[in-house]
Symmetry: C2
Subunit: 205 residues, 2 copies
């Protein structure tokens, strides 16, 4: 039964389930079970059933889950059933990898604009995108009603850029800068820092 406030830790696992389901679908599977998913993800089947139960009943006793259906449901729950336009700030290597590689396509996001403050970069074409002047950021965000920003600027500029994003109306931020950034309540921020992940493994080597 869907309760009122699913714990954040549960919400954070849903994208993992969705990713596994996508993979199963790509393999041509139609049906899966909590046991099957659990093995693939390395967690317990009880946890998967419990997690899903916060949002509804998606399975069938004796059979399991229809992959296409569960996938749709998760996308709906995570609000990924339509594409979110995202802006990218920082047209460096990292930004290029994101745009070029285009891993965002098909998973709920689309890069709608790229911004930089370097005169060398502004005006350059990246595929269908033209790098824009960071000073035009707020206007773009408001006009296109963007809610999500990706920050791929040097560490020293990160807090400043985040402030500007929030000022312009952005409410969710993914930062590649390896520093804790302070944001007001109501703004969500996630971090990407490869070093952090590497440093989490060396203890065990």
């Amino acid at each position: 039964m869907a309760s009122l406030e699913p714990p954040n830790i549960v919400v954070r696992r849903l994208p993992l389930y969705l990713r596994a389901l996508n993979l199963l679908a790509a393999e041509g599977q139609k049906i899966t079970s909590s046991k099957d998913l659990a093995e693939r993800l390395g967690i317990s089947s009880a946890q998967i059933r419990k997690d899903l139960s916060h949002f509804g009943e998606f399975g069938k006793q004796g059979t399991g889950y229809e992959i296409a259906n569960l996938s749709d449901q998760l996308r709906r729950i995570l609000k990924l059933d339509s594409e979110w336009p995202v802006i990218l700030i920082g047209a460096g290597d990292l930004g290029r990898a994101l745009v070029h590689h285009s891993a965002l396509q098909g998973r709920g996001f689309r890069i709608a604009g790229v911004f930089d403050n370097s005169p060398n970069k502004i005006g350059q074409r990246w595929g269908e995108l033209v790098i824009q002047d960071a000073r035009d950021l707020a206007r773009f965000v408001r006009h296109e009603d963007i809610q999500i920003g990706i920050v791929a600027v040097p560490q020293e500029q990160a807090q400043h850029v985040v402030n500007a994003l929030i000022e312009s109306g952005i409410t969710a931020i993914l930062s590649y800068a390896p520093v804790a950034i302070s944001v007001p309540a109501g703004i969500r921020i996630e971090y990407m820092d490869p070093i952090l992940h590497l440093q989490r493994m060396t203890y065990y080597l």
Copy 2:
């Protein structure tokens, strides 16, 4: 008092503390407290003290922690006091961003080799590195005694590459491929997937 097996969840937070300490040091601070760190990291001061207590006593009542000392201690605990050589597999945009940006320098790691399987890429220079043939990977890993690998290849090749890495002796892997990879017990793997992070925020928008 240092207990026998600190929980993994505690070990995973240590790099965050280290990062905050680095920042404080860069600001010219000499001393900090669990309260100060807690505010900066958005967690409780009790948690920081409890976490540190798994590894020893690093503070002084009434004063707090000497930043340089605590930083050294954490680096020692995490085995980051000497530089780990790392190999990178996949010389695409993402790989270039990692090498070029060189964010690894000074945080305990150094890219010792870059590998790719494309004839177009092999032989290219990236700064001081020359992209090597992926077939020479095992030899390099053994000869240079590398323990850590970063996988930045297309999704479809990720499992295959990881298998080869493990075969050659790598025991810790950072994967940029957005798929769960299966590894035998004793091998550690961490994932970098920006979409996952974005998908964890949309629920709340």
